[in-house]
Subunit: 503 residues, 2 copies
C-alpha cells in the first residue's frame, strides 16, 4: 500500500490521516485492547473515584489546536479506564450487564470505518441484507415464524417503546397518529406484571398513554404473572369503559429472572384481541440453553418481542432488537413520506426502509457485530455459555442452601440470584419486624463494602419488601469457582461491617 | 504481555480469545481499514447490486459451529464492502452524510472493548465525566450558556423526539405522563416551518400529540420561517382554543440548508411562553465556520437544540446530541424510580443519571469518539473543514451561475446546493408547464444515471414544485476540484440520457 500524496488530501491529517498514521493509531490501541482482555479478571471491578477528581483530570475548554493520538490514548488508559467499572470482570454481577466480545469490538472498528447508514436498503444494500440475516438468526434462536421480521435498536427501552407504539397504532388506527390521543377519549390500557421493567411505564408516559394506564398484575410465588388476575383486570376495565389493547409479558424479569407463562398469556391476548408484547431483553436468548428452553413455549405467538443482544449475546452496548410477528401490522405507526425518504426502487426487498418499523432514521451498522459474534462462535458455543451462566446461578443457590449464613430470597429461574447474609444472631428462630429491618440495613452496608472491595460486585433489589443482594451471571468468563469466591467476598464484607459496628 | 493459561479461561476461545488471537484479528482488520481510507476516493460510490444477489451471498441458517475470523473478514471485504454505498467518498453528496474519521473508528474499538454503559455516573464515572466534557465543548461551539446541559443520543430523530417530550411535559406538568393525553383535552400545538424535517411530525405522532397539530408555517424566498406568519398562526390557534406550547426553528433545513431567524423566533417564544426547540442537526456546527457564524445569533436562547455530531463533526453513525438550556426543566419528563435505578450517592454530580434526560437506559460510550475527534483535530481544523465545505457549495453556485446548461433552484445558505440541468432547448425563453414537467423527468433520469455511474452522487428534492438535483458537502475530503468534476459528471449523464432518448 502506498500512502496518499499531499495534493490528493482534502484536509488536515488529524481528520484525514494517511494509511501509515492509521496503522500507527491502531497498533497503539491494540496494545491496550489485548492487555485489557488479558487483565480484566484481575482489575478491581469498581473504581474509587469522585466526580470532582475526574473533572480535574478531564475538563478543559474546547481545544483550538489538536494533539497527538498517543496523548489521547494515554488519557484514556490512565484516567478513563481506571475511572470506570469493569463490566467484563467475571464477578461483576450487577444489573444485567454483558462483557462484550473481542470480535464485536473489531466489528465496531470495521463498521465505523465503513460508516454505512442503515436507513433503508438503498443506502446500504449489503449491510441492510446482513441486518436481515441476523434478524433471521435471532428469530431462529427464539423459534419465531418465518414471516416475522424486525430491526436492531439502540437498546431494550427503545425496543419496548417501539412495540407499544405499534400496538397502539393497531388498536387506534391512524386517528391518534394524525390527531393525537385527544381524538381517542376512552383510556387505553396496557397489562403487565408488577415485576415489569420501568421502561414500559416510561414508554406509556412518553406515548401519551399515561403511566397509570399500565395496569400492574400480581405475580405468583415465582414472580410470574397470575393469568387469572390478568383476566379479571381486563374484564373490570372493559366494564368500566376502558380499552384494553396490549399485554406485556416478561421473559426474564429484571429482579428475579422470572419467565411469565407465555402460552397462557398468548391465549388471553388472542381471546381479547390484545397485542401481546414480550419483554425478553434479559432472558430471550436463554432459549438457546437446553435446560431453560421449555420456559419459552408460546414466545413465537407474541406480536412483538424486545431483546437485548447487548445482554445475553454478550455484545458490547449498544444493541437492542425488536421482532414483529407481522411487520406489516407495525409499519403504519412509523412510515413517513418526504422527498428525502422517497424510495425509487420497485423491487419490494430493495424498497425496504428500516425507518418504517421504528422511530430512528440514521442507524449505525450494528448488525456487523451481531453477525461476527454469532458466526465466529456459532450458536452451540453461545448456548453452552448461556447454559454455563445458568449453571453458575444454580450452583450459587446450592451453596447458599448448604450454608447457615446465607438465605435465598427468590427462586433462581435463569441466571439471576437474590439472597442475603444472615449474621449468627439471625440464623435461627423467628424474626421480628425490627430484626428484618436490621437485616436490610446490614445487607445494604455489606453491598457497599463489597462494591468498594473490588473483587465481586452485586447490586440491590427489594424482594417481598426486604433488601436483597442481587446478582446476574451474564459473562462467558464466569465459572463455578467465581460463585464460591463471591460468597467468600460477601462473608469478608460482613466481617468488615461487623468490625465497623462493634470495633 | 503473557497469554492466559487455559485453566483461567471461562469459555470458548471465539467468545474469549487470547491476547495473541485479538492482536491477530486486529492486524487483519487494520489492513482493510488503512486500505479503505487510502482507496475510498477511487471507489465507485454506489454499488451495482440487488437484494436477491446479496441474499444469495449472505443468507444462511443460524450457524451451529463457529468459523474463523479470517473467513468472516473475507465476506466483509468481498461482499459487504463492495455491496454498499461509500459515504466517505469526496463526491458522495447525497442526503446529509458524513464520512466518519479514522480516529473515531479507533475510539469505537476502544469503547466497545471497555464496554462502559453510560446509564448513570455511578455505572461509568470517567466515561460519564467525558460525556459532560464533550457536551460542554459542543455548548461552547454553539455559544450556549454555562448552565446548559445535555446528552448524546442515537441520532437527530431521537433528539427531536426527546425535546418535544420535554416541551410537552413543561406545558402539561405530570398529568399527561401520569394519565395520558386524554387527561388534557385541549389540542396542543407545535409550530414549525414547511421546510422542517419529518422527524418532528413523526415525534408528534408517537407522543400522542398528532401530526396535524404540527402547524406548518410558510417560508420566505430563502426558505426561512416567516415570523409574522408564525405569530398570526399562534393567535388564530389561541382564539380557537388550542394550546400553543412549542416552536421548532431550523438551523439548516434538510432541503436547502436555510437557517430560520433564530433571535426573532426566540422573541416570539418568550412572548407566548413557548418552548423553543432548534433542529440544528445538520447546520449547528457551522457556527464554527467564521462566514456563517452570524446566522446562529439567538441559538443560545433556545430551550433545546438537537444536533448530529455524526453529520458536521464528521463522526461515524451513530451520534446525535440534545442540549437543554435548563436541564432541570426537562428532567421530570424522563426520570423514573425503581430499585435498579436507585442511586445511593449523595453528591449531586455522582447521583447524575442520563436516564433522567432522555428515553434510553443503556447507553453506549459515544462520548469517546466525539472527544477523540475534537481533541485530535482541534476546533480550528474542524471549523476550517466546515468553512471549506461551505466554500465548495458556494463555488459550485458560481460555476452554475457562469454556465448556460445549469440553473440554481435555491440559494446556497450553508453547504447544500439545489440545481438542475437545462438542455439547449430550455436555455432561453419562457417555459410552459409541459416544459417544466419534461425538465423534471429529464433531471430525475440524470440523477439515476449519475448514481449508477459511480463518480458523483446527488440525491433529489422538490423546490417550489420542481425536481431538483440536491447535494450537501459534508466531507473533509471534498475540494473545489470535486465540484467541477461533479458538473462534468452531470453533463456526461445528461448526454447519456439524451442518447437513450434519441439514439
Amino acid at each position: 500500500m502506498t500512502s496518499i500524496s499531499p495534493d490528493r488530501r482534502g484536509f488536515d491529517s488529524a481528520l484525514d490521516p494517511s494509511a501509515e498514521q492509521i496503522r500507527d493509531m491502531v497498533a497503539h490501541a491494540v496494545d491496550w485492547v489485548a492487555a485489557y482482555h488479558d487483565s480484566v479478571r484481575d482489575l478491581p471491578i469498581a473504581p474509587r473515584t469522585s466526580a470532582a477528581g475526574l473533572k480535574d483530570l478531564l475538563a478543559e475548554p474546547l481545544p483550538v489546536e489538536g494533539r497527538d493520538f498517543a496523548d489521547l490514548l494515554r488519557v484514556f488508559r490512565e484516567v478513563v479506564v481506571p475511572g470506570t467499572r469493569h463490566n467484563g470482570h467475571p464477578r461483576f454481577f450487577g444489573y444485567v450487564s454483558a462483557p462484550g466480545t473481542a470480535v464485536a469490538a473489531v466489528a465496531d472498528l470495521l463498521a465505523s470505518t465503513l460508516n454505512a447508514n442503515l436507513t433503508a436498503w438503498r443506502s446500504a444494500p449489503a449491510p441492510a441484507e446482513l441486518e436481515h440475516v441476523v434478524i433471521d438468526w435471532i428469530k431462529e434462536a427464539l423459534g419465531c415464524d418465518p414471516g416475522a421480521g424486525g430491526l436492531l435498536t439502540s437498546g431494550g427501552s427503545m425496543a419496548n417503546f417501539t412495540a407499544l407504539a405499534a400496538a397502539r397504532h393497531r388498536h387506534c388506527g391512524d386517528t391518534v397518529a394524525t390527531h393525537g390521543m385527544a381524538a381517542h377519549p376512552a383510556p387505553l390500557r396496557v397489562y403487565a406484571s408488577t415485576e415489569t421493567h420501568h421502561s414500559i411505564h416510561k414508554a406509556a408516559a412518553l406515548l401519551g398513554i399515561g403511566r397509570t394506564n399500565v395496569r400492574e398484575i400480581q405475580v405468583d410465588a415465582h414472580f410470574r404473572m397470575d393469568v387469572d388476575a390478568l383476566v379479571r383486570t381486563i374484564e373490570e376495565d372493559r366494564i368500566a369503559g376502558a380499552e384494553p389493547f396490549c399485554v406485556v409479558a416478561n421473559a426474564g424479569t429484571v429482579v428475579t429472572g422470572a419467565v411469565d407463562p407465555l402460552a397462557d398469556i398468548a391465549a388471553v391476548a388472542r381471546g381479547y384481541g390484545l397485542w401481546m408484547h414480550v419483554d425478553a431483553c434479559y432472558g430471550g436468548f436463554a432459549r438457546l440453553a437446553p435446560s431453560t428452553r421449555p420456559l419459552f413455549d408460546g414466545l413465537s405467538e407474541a406480536d412483538s418481542i424486545a431483546l437485548d443482544p447487548h445482554k445475553w449475546l454478550y455484545l458490547p452496548a449498544d444493541c437492542g432488537c425488536l421482532i414483529y410477528r407481522d411487520p406489516e401490522a407495525a409499519r403504519p405507526a412509523f412510515s413517513l413520506d418526504a422527498d428525502y425518504t422517497r424510495v425509487m426502487q420497485t423491487e419490494p426487498a430493495e424498497a425496504f426502509a428500516f425507518w418504517d418499523y421504528g422511530p430512528d432514521l440514521s442507524r449505525r451498522f450494528r448488525a456487523l457485530k451481531v453477525w461476527m459474534t454469532l458466526a465466529h462462535a456459532g450458536s452451540r458455543a453461545v448456548g453452552d455459555a448461556i447454559e454455563s451462566n445458568i449453571d453458575c446461578a444454580r450452583h450459587l443457590a446450592e451453596l447458599i442452601d448448604g450454608s447457615d449464613d446465607f438465605e435465598l430470597l427468590a427462586p433462581v429461574e435463569l441466571s439471576i440470584f437474590c439472597f442475603r447474609y444472615l449474621p449468627p444472631s439471625a440464623q435461627a428462630g423467628s424474626r421480628s419486624q425490627t430484626d428484618e429491618e436490621q437485616l436490610d440495613r446490614l445487607n445494604e452496608r455489606i453491598m457497599a463494602v463489597l462494591q468498594q472491595g473490588g473483587s465481586s460486585y452485586l447490586s440491590n433489589a427489594t424482594i417481598n419488601g426486604r433488601f436483597a443482594l442481587r446478582g446476574c451471571v451474564l459473562n462467558y468468563r464466569t465459572t463455578r469457582h467465581d460463585m464460591q469466591i463471591l460468597l467468600d467476598d460477601v462473608r469478608r464484607a460482613a466481617e468488615q461491617v461487623a468490625e465497623e459496628t462493634h470495633p
